[in-house]
Symmetry: D5
Subunit: 146 residues, 10 copies
């Protein structure tokens, strides 16, 4: 079973049971972003978490195996087209130099890891319109000087 089929099976079961990503994440004791990304095939779960997902969704062992496989990460469009995703691309473009300047100022020469990395999506209620709050936390990796 490949990751695509795995995702289709999970989405079908999730919809049938009326579960949310938040609820699924809470139930297996992991964050919503990581849980969702694993179910979409962009990350891998440990065996116990994979089994927990499958138990909750009443899916069989094959899905659990697929959830543990190391994913091949890819995306469809070099420049994303969906407006929601494009805005993150736009932020990277518009603020790229700014992020670079501030991270170098605070940490020196290096980067924020996208591997030793976590992210959260929160809703901030606001009378002027609720806000989406996305928090990324990545380990600072200094360039090795050898």
């Amino acid at each position: 079973m490949n990751k695509e089929l795995m995702t289709a099976r999970i989405l079908e079961a999730k919809n049938a049971k009326g579960l949310t990503w938040e609820a699924m994440a809470q139930s297996i004791g992991m964050s919503p972003v990581f849980t969702t990304s694993a179910c979409f095939g962009s990350n891998s779960l440990t065996e116990d978490k994979a089994l927990a997902v499958c138990e909750m969704l009443e899916l069989d062992r094959e899905v659990a195996d697929a959830l543990q496989a190391c994913p091949y990460k890819s995306w469809d469009w070099t420049v994303p087209q969906d407006p929601l995703i494009y805005r993150f691309y736009e932020v990277t473009g518009v603020y790229g130099d700014t992020l670079k300047a501030l991270i170098h100022e605070k940490f020196g020469d290096g980067i924020m890891s996208a591997i030793d990395f976590e992210m959260a999506v929160d809703k901030e209620e606001n009378p002027a319109g609720d806000r989406v709050v996305v928090t990324m936390s990545g380990k600072f990796l200094p360039y090795k000087k050898w």
Copy 2:
């Protein structure tokens, strides 16, 4: 004076005075990300903030005018090449579907604004290696149904 020359003049003065972006931002009472992005020509300042920047850096009126102009935002590479900036592109690619699923789950059909938007870069000290924490907050914009 165009934005490029403006940035060059600001960087020169900033280096000469040994100022940091953090200090400059604090001094004019704005956030470090916004202040830096305005100095890089990706955002515009109001007149009083533009004058405050120029006073601090001992730069003339022309720079203050350029800081207030509406910027033409662009970036050099469709796929960014600098490793620090690329990692944000990678995050958008790898987690794009996840961000979409979670924002729709929490807010319904719509997007996070990249215009009514703010961002912070923080340093989280951590014995296993300090972490870069990037927080984005954008107004949720529901799709108008007309």
Copy 3:
């Protein structure tokens, strides 16, 4: 049922019944552009509107569910090839700087939202040749200065 299958089912029923987009839109009390775009899978309908579409076309619940799902918006060609669609791309290219200058002059630094947005297509009869009139209305979003 995904959006593609949904669109195929709707087009088939619409052709069988000899309905126009205008008539369908009027019948559910929404605009022709929005109704059409939702049927093409580029926007989502509320439950009552989705049910109204399905009732009119004698389509089942699955189609109504698909009409309510948040769409993944994409298009086939980075530069559109169909001449009708290309002309809108050409207008964006030729008049992009002009739109930018005039919107900034009238509203300040910000953009026209493509989310809190509506559009109409009208026919203006004209002895020298009828004219296509496309009216876009999007909320002005000023850049947050934080």
Copy 4:
């Protein structure tokens, strides 16, 4: 004098005199969009209008000649990057099929001309936030069947 230098000279004079595009357009009796696009080098003016622009801005004959030259129209990025311009590209992508369906429904097989074409940008005041209203009017061109 090429179009680029012409635009630079016009912008300089316009800023020095504190004129708006609206005022310039009104003064020469043409629409703001067309006047602005001609000054940016995307359209050509007739001799009398070109001279009127130059008189108003106290610019010499060379600028007037450049304003009358047939422009070579081009733009920098296949996919525009500036957020204001990008939103129009996004609208073309998301609503391309819808525009095609509705224009064909109302007019038959053909396209909206981008040459026998005019456009206006208006501000619609609105307590929930002012709106940008862009109106395009292009002659319908039916495909010749020969």
Copy 5:
């Protein structure tokens, strides 16, 4: 029935009957280029012509309906690869500026329409090698100055 299937059905029938495009065009009283392009799905026919094509090829009503549908025009390669088609792309590249200069010189600022347009392909016998003669005729469209 979509245009692709329509084309396949027409080609099959045309081969079975040993017809040429020229003969088919003559039989329905239209030009060879237009007739061929409609059969390839790049143009639409009026009802009587569509029925005439189907009668000649003994194809059913569905094909006639597909021939009348407004086509979505597209092509496979941004830069065409087939040598015969590439040569036309090369001509556009090499002579683009020349075509622009001469059309502007003869007609003023405007373009040749590709919609109110017709084209013929002829064979000119020549002892030094026969020549392909392609004649394009498009209405001149002057830029509206509004």
Copy 6:
């Protein structure tokens, strides 16, 4: 002297003398398209024609030498952006398969040469709007079967 500088010198002299491409071509006894393309640096002239151009425009020997050099042919945009030139690209895209089918039907397997090639641009007066008539004539080159 490279081709770019040569073109600039020719355009300057042509404008100063108020000459048209048609007149220049007639004067040297060559076609307008070829003459124009040689002056734009896309083709080379024989020595006598190059000298004739320079005499007419009162330009020196260096320009005549440059006119005789074999050109490096190139163009700026893979997909042309200027609307006049784009329409020819669109014609190639929309009618590519049709041109291929008809040339093969009339001539067999081979192509129209873009080298042993000539082209004319004519104005056809027409009460419904004048028409641009572009005639291409290229030698048919059959594929060698070896």
Copy 7:
């Protein structure tokens, strides 16, 4: 039967019979490169050669018809990825200007035809390592000056 299926059928029969391209070419009295390219669907054969191929491989009439059809030539990657094919692309890139200079020096302004063209692949035994010798011969086509 399209060219792809034709190639599949030929390869299958060729493998089953243990034939080489060289042997097949010799048997039908044509060159190995041309024979191979026709079997891969990049060139067309005359009727007698097509029948000869089919007789040798015990394939039916349909394959012979497909071998005679004018091919639509295309390739998968704008920049080839297979190392063997890439090296020819690299040679074109590295030596393009050199080929241009030498052909112009020897022949004047024109090109080597890729249509009236033939090619051979030979093995040159060499104690320092055998060499691949590729010989291309194309008719020189001078630019028509009209």
Copy 8:
């Protein structure tokens, strides 16, 4: 002195002296293709050859040094636009699979080296039109199986 300036200096001297690439190559005892490519900056010469070129052209030591430097090889267009160079690209595209099949048939799994490589351009007189003969010879490199 970089390679670009070196080439400019060599072309200027070559033109002034009325030398051909053939003559220059013969004079230094190397092949025309290699000599030309080194002068265009695509290959490097040994010291004695570099000095011989400079002596023949009366150029100074700096040019000889530049001729010996290892070049950074690049080309302007991913898909070449100049028709002469494009034809070689087309040959690679159309015959890529054929070259691959025949080289593998004759040599096994491996490639033709583009490094241990030589090429010649010859003129073959022919009453039906002279032919350009390009001969490439590259060492066969078998894939190491380790």
Copy 9:
């Protein structure tokens, strides 16, 4: 049987038997990188090695034949998207000039062969975090000077 199907069959058998690439490579007496790449269809095996793989995995003759076929090497994304693979692309980009300078300094004008080439992936245990050690060894190929 094509290479894709071959890989699918091998992976299925490998998983069923719980074998590692290391173990498979050791068993057939070849390196892990080469063995893996052959099983993924990027390299070809000699007959004895192909049979050995099939025996170990209990796969039939068809798979062994496919393992011996010369592969068509390609990859999905011009810029790789999977983070693990992208890092190697990044290293090539960031260190390309450095690799070029050092190889030229040590070896003269030429390249490292990617054909007479081998590679190993090793794990270096390290208290600060284990390290991936990739060793490439390619024959130096000096540019032929002919």
Copy 10:
């Protein structure tokens, strides 16, 4: 002083003094790859190393400052064109899946860091032709599971 000018100054001085990258690296006690990449502007040096480079080359303080600045890393061609650099791109393409499979097999789900990374280029003498040995060592970064 930007990195480009810095590199030019260093190369000039290095050539004037006849130094090698190896010698420079040894003299400042760092590896040749890192030293070279820092001098090419792809990495930054600590203050003492930057001063050591400048002392050795008799360059002033400005160069030392530039050597310490955090670099903006970029490269000219998405697909590298220089043959030496291209071969590393080819290796990444051909062996990408293999590297992924073996690293996951040895280390689990994660990547090789390109930041906590070092590389060496060595010459291995070999009677069959010297070999370039490139050794990369990057810290394994496991995906955080949060």
